[in-house]
């Protein structure tokens, strides 16, 4: 088929053993205001047989798109991205939908949504999802009732540009000031990437495209939490993430009722999630309900590992509660 590659006898036997098709295990919906995060590491998916099976799950358009990516690794990334999304969402449908049968549409702002089949007997789950990936990690976040945005970045990613020039050009003034306060280039780079992923997550959560929410029109700040007395580095309390809309921003579109969390994922990435606050949280200053998050590492249709509470998910900012 289209994935060729050197395959030793041993890996062939190994992959054959793995490839007895396993029906996808059902997954109960995330509970209220809980996020499920699923990720796959492309380096852990090597079997051409398995990759070709995944190819079968995609729509013709998705397949075409994946194959038009420039080079094997990018093609594999695109394939795994759609595979992860399809296999993950299908699990929440109580076997009513298969990965291959899911259909997606782009809403009028360009954000992908599931188009559930019309079936009088079945009410589809109210799933929100967002996908993000790098060359080494593909992630999909799912909620049952709240809009969500997700962004991941390799934590060692270098910028070609001068960070302050870049920030002055694209970020909000308070963010430029914040980045300027760091003199060590490495610290500044790290803080820049944290801001970037959080801003991306917000724009993706809003779902209106980047021209709908220019980065300059809103600012992310890190604020000490309500229990800021704790200076114990092992404490679970981390600086909270505050969002403010600049005067230049369209207050109708850019709303401030969003909650963020930033964490280290798989020891290699920063991940930011942004979810809409519920209407009941009226006073943002008195502290928020912890952002509930559960994380699994998977090889779609093959294996899964619950990694919340391990060193694969480390809170950086915001508050995470993995017990749900």
């Amino acid at each position: 088929m289209f994935f060729r590659g050197p395959m030793s006898i041993q890996s062939d036997i190994f992959s054959r053993r793995l490839l007895v098709p396993r029906p996808l295990a059902k997954m109960p919906l995330p509970s209220s205001r809980e996020t499920h995060l699923w990720y796959v590491l492309p380096d852990e998916v090597k079997s051409p047989l398995l990759l070709n099976q995944y190819l079968e799950l995609l729509s013709p358009t998705e397949r075409d798109n994946a194959l038009r990516m420039n080079g094997d690794n990018l093609q594999k990334g695109a394939l795994l991205s759609r595979t992860l999304l399809r296999t993950t969402l299908a699990r929440y449908t109580d076997h009513k939908a298969s990965p291959r049968s899911l259909e997606f549409v782009i809403n009028r702002f360009g954000k992908p949504e599931v188009q559930w089949p019309c079936d009088g007997n079945w009410i589809p789950p109210p799933l929100h999802f967002n996908v993000s990936h790098t060359s080494s990690l593909i992630a999909c976040a799912v909620t049952a009732d709240i809009p969500i945005g997700l962004d991941v970045l390799e934590k060692h990613r270098q910028l070609k540009s001068n960070i302050l020039s870049f920030a002055r050009r694209y970020f909000a003034p308070s963010e430029v000031e914040f980045l300027s306060s760091f003199t060590d280039p490495e610290t500044r780079r790290r803080e820049f990437l944290k801001l970037w992923t959080l801003k991306e997550a917000y724009v993706k959560a809003l779902g209106r495209g980047f021209s709908g929410a220019p980065f300059r029109h809103f600012a992310i700040q890190f604020k000490a939490g309500a229990t800021e007395e704790s200076t114990d580095p092992n404490s679970d309390v981390h600086p909270e993430i505050a969002l403010s809309i600049e005067p230049s921003g369209d207050a109708q579109l850019l709303t401030a009722d969003w909650q963020f969390a930033l964490f280290e994922l798989a020891s290699s990435h920063h991940a930011a999630i942004c979810v809409k606050k519920s209407g009941e949280m009226n006073d943002p200053t008195t502290g928020e309900d912890p952002l509930r998050l559960k994380v699994w590492k998977v090889v779609p249709s093959v294996s899964e590992e619950f990694v919340s509470g391990t060193d694969q998910v480390l809170t950086i900012n915001g508050i995470l509660n993995s017990q749900g």
């Binding site: 080079g71 992908p112 990613r157 070609k160 870049f166 980047f210």
Partner: protein
């Protein structure tokens, strides 16, 4: 900077089909590039409105410069062929790369790109067209 070995056949205003000839580039056959037609694939990426259509296509030198900036930003191997038809996302650019590319173009050509327009550029050719339009505006 890498030089382009591919020939891009560009028909202004009509379908843009490009066949790529990896002349004289060792290892170029490793890269499979399907022929591109001007069809916007916005399945996965929010916010991609239809491309701005500019009056005349950019000069080949401009396209080459853009290709060079893109290759540098994305750290593409020298044998990777980038042409006017190359889509940034297909080359593996994420949103941070795209913004860095635009900033690199602003610095290279001494122009200012509105964020709206920056988000609409998806191919090298579109970037080059926009650059020339902005440059000619600036010097008018």
């Amino acid at each position: 900077m890498a030089s382009l070995a591919a020939t891009s056949v560009f028909l202004p205003g009509r379908t843009r089909s490009v066949s790529l000839h990896g002349q004289g580039m060792a290892g170029a056959s490793q890269i499979r590039l399907a022929s591109f037609t001007h069809q916007r694939r916005s399945t996965f990426f929010p916010g991609q409105a239809s491309a701005p259509r500019f009056e005349s296509p950019a000069k080949p030198e401009t396209v080459e410069k853009v290709c060079a900036i893109v290759k540098k930003q994305l750290a593409l191997a020298s044998e990777v062929v980038v042409t006017g038809e190359s889509e940034f996302t297909k080359l593996g650019a994420d949103s941070l790369d795209t913004v860095e590319i635009v900033m690199g173009l602003e610095e290279e050509f001494g122009i200012n790109v509105e964020e709206d327009n920056a988000q609409r550029i998806t191919t090298v050719q579109e970037a080059a067209d926009m650059i020339e339009k902005l440059v000619s505006k600036g010097s008018a």
